[in-house]
């Protein structure tokens, strides 16, 4: 009474030879060909994000796909919107300085810089020499932080999961330690004041910056050895997401993205704001405007930033770190009033042109406060770059734009 577990063995296999197999394949191919000519395909709508790690925050792309090819892409934003502008219009001029840290939370120093610059333009405030140098040093250190991190995360988007980011974080920590020593905070620095900076730098500041300057090129060489000639990176990034020159200019794209498309436009050179016209540095430009150029632009810019830092710490003079009027304004922020009028101040932030448009009616609060954020405007041409590319490439293209959602949504 044995339990029958398997079907009984087939006694006779049908005869099978190579010719039959070839014939089967032929029939199958003919069938497939016929089907593909008559087959009706459907496009697929996918909502990429907002809770997706490759969107760098809470950002959504409504994508229409044909197979894996992108037919349509609509960016959807606003998940992190807190109406920064309305908040700023309801508090003193200096009151929104800490909130600017939270715009692009990777680069709080440059956000402070742009806001301080706009208010100084509006209120005609002088900035002492030493403060100008401190500001430039901080801005360039921030550029190093931003570009290093961006390259790390771009590789993350390519699938090199967290190894490059780890190296990037290691170097970023050293700069953040410096920020902590000077401003008291690692990321939300709140360091700039109208007419200067909050505190003078400590005595060990210059040697520490020098140490960073000495070590950074070695790190960049190491990073580049790992990445720049990497075959996977080249295959995935070259000729992907090409942004033509004319479209880039018309769409108001700024920063490394614009320069990767071959337009030599750097606000540090054009406006020469603060004291940037005193430093010798070059503006790198790309050839094709693909993702690889955008990646490489950042590496080259970091090398130029190191040159600026090197010159700045050699030339930094002694003296006041904030002007008398500025110090008074910082002590009594609610007493600070800007004269009636409007001003637009802009800087070359690591991500592009960061501008503040301010209108004053002579009261202690700004009448209108507008942030022109580079991440937001650089997203305008996301669809143009992604059309006809694969889904996986759209992730890389988004990564190469370098957005921070705090700044996109404000």
């Amino acid at each position: 009474m044995g339990l029958l577990r398997f079907p009984p063995p087939v006694t006779a296999d049908p005869p099978f030879c190579l010719a039959d197999a070839r014939n089967d394949r032929q029939v199958a191919m003919e069938y497939e060909l016929k089907e593909s000519q008559t087959l009706e395909t459907q496009t697929l709508e996918v909502s990429l994000g907002p809770q997706h790690p490759s969107t760098h925050g809470v950002f959504r792309m409504d994508v229409v796909l044909d197979g894996e090819t992108i037919m349509k892409l609509k960016p959807v934003m606003g998940y992190l919107h807190r109406n920064h502008e309305k908040l700023a219009e309801n508090m003193s001029w200096l009151g929104s300085m800490p909130f600017t840290d939270r715009l692009d939370y990777i680069c709080s120093m440059t956000n402070n810089f742009a806001y301080a610059l706009a208010v100084e333009k509006l209120a005609n405030l002088e900035v002492p020499e030493r403060a100008q140098y401190i500001r430039v040093i901080m801005a360039e250190l921030t550029r190093l932080v931003n570009h290093t991190l961006l390259i790390g995360f771009l590789l993350n988007d390519l699938g090199a999961f967290f190894t490059p980011v780890l190296y990037a974080f290691r170097e970023r920590e050293k700069i953040l330690d410096l920020f902590e020593a000077i401003a008291g905070s690692r990321m939300m620095c709140n360091y700039f004041r109208f007419g200067g900076v909050k505190l003078d730098v400590t005595s060990d500041f210059i040697p520490r910056v020098r140490q960073i300057i000495n070590n950074y090129p070695k790190f960049l060489d190491e990073f580049e050895k790992l990445l720049s000639e990497n075959e996977i990176l080249m295959a995935r990034c070259q000729n992907v997401g090409i942004l033509p020159k004319e479209l880039a200019v018309s769409a108001g794209v700024t920063g490394p993205m614009l320069r990767a498309s071959g337009v030599p436009y750097d606000i540090r050179k054009i406006d020469g704001y603060s004291i940037y016209n005193r430093f010798k540095f070059r503006v790198p430009i790309g050839e094709k405007g693909d993702v690889y150029d955008r990646y490489y632009m950042r590496v080259l810019e970091m090398r130029e930033s190191i040159k600026i830092l090197d010159q700045a710490i050699k030339e930094i003079p002694d003296g006041e770190f904030i002007s008398k009027v500025g110090a008074q304004g910082a002590r009594t922020p609610r007493g600070f009033k800007a004269p009636k009028g409007d001003a637009y101040g802009r800087i070359e932030a690591p991500k592009g042109e960061l501008g503040f448009y301010l209108v004053s009616d002579g009261t202690p609060k700004p009448y209108r406060y507008h942030v022109r954020s580079p991440s937001f405007i650089n997203l305008t041409i996301l669809e143009d770059m992604c059309l006809g590319q694969k889904v996986a490439d759209a992730i890389v293209i988004l990564g190469s734009i370098d957005i921070v959602l705090g700044e996109v949504d404000r």
Binding site: K86, N90, G252, E353, Y367, T380
Partner: protein, 151 residues
């Protein structure tokens, strides 16, 4: 950059029947002529303002104002600030998105937050607030929860 008074004269001689006013460092242009003047400023070789940096709306209670900051990347000049005013009832201004793509999201933002309608915009929807939101938060008559808080 050409002095603003000369720009005003030049535009007035090219576009008959329009009068511009100079407000501080910016030009105030009537909205009926703005679109054609914008095209002229972008293409004319003496300006070549090919880069529209910033677009934003301001609520001055009696009227609404759209502020444009134009630069020339080709000539490395700028800025030229341009203000276009509209009354609160109609609150509409011609869209310059067909001329400068960078206005696309910024005009949507100004529509969303300040409530200015841009005629001729290809896709005028809210961008930061959610669809179905009733108000325009950057209008001065927008009531906030803590409106009576004193500074």
């Amino acid at each position: 950059m050409i002095p603003i008074a000369e720009i005003k004269q030049d535009i007035e001689s090219k576009f008959l029947g329009t009068t511009l006013t100079v407000d501080g460092a910016s030009l105030v242009i009537a909205k009926e002529h703005w679109f054609s003047i914008a095209k002229y400023l972008k293409t004319d070789p003496s300006y070549r303002l090919d880069f529209l940096s910033s677009v934003t709306g301001v609520d001055y209670k009696e009227y609404l104002e759209v502020v444009y900051h134009l630069y020339s990347i080709e000539k490395k000049e700028g800025p030229l600030a341009i203000k276009v005013r509209t009354d609160v009832q109609t609150s509409s201004v011609p869209s310059v998105t067909p001329i400068w793509r960078s206005a696309e999201f910024q005009e949507r933002e100004a529509y969303d937050l300040v409530g200015i309608k841009f005629e001729g915009h290809p896709d005028l929807r809210r961008i930061l607030m959610w669809e179905g939101f009733q108000f325009h938060p950057l209008r001065k008559d927008y009531v906030m929860e803590d409106q009576d808080r004193v500074l």
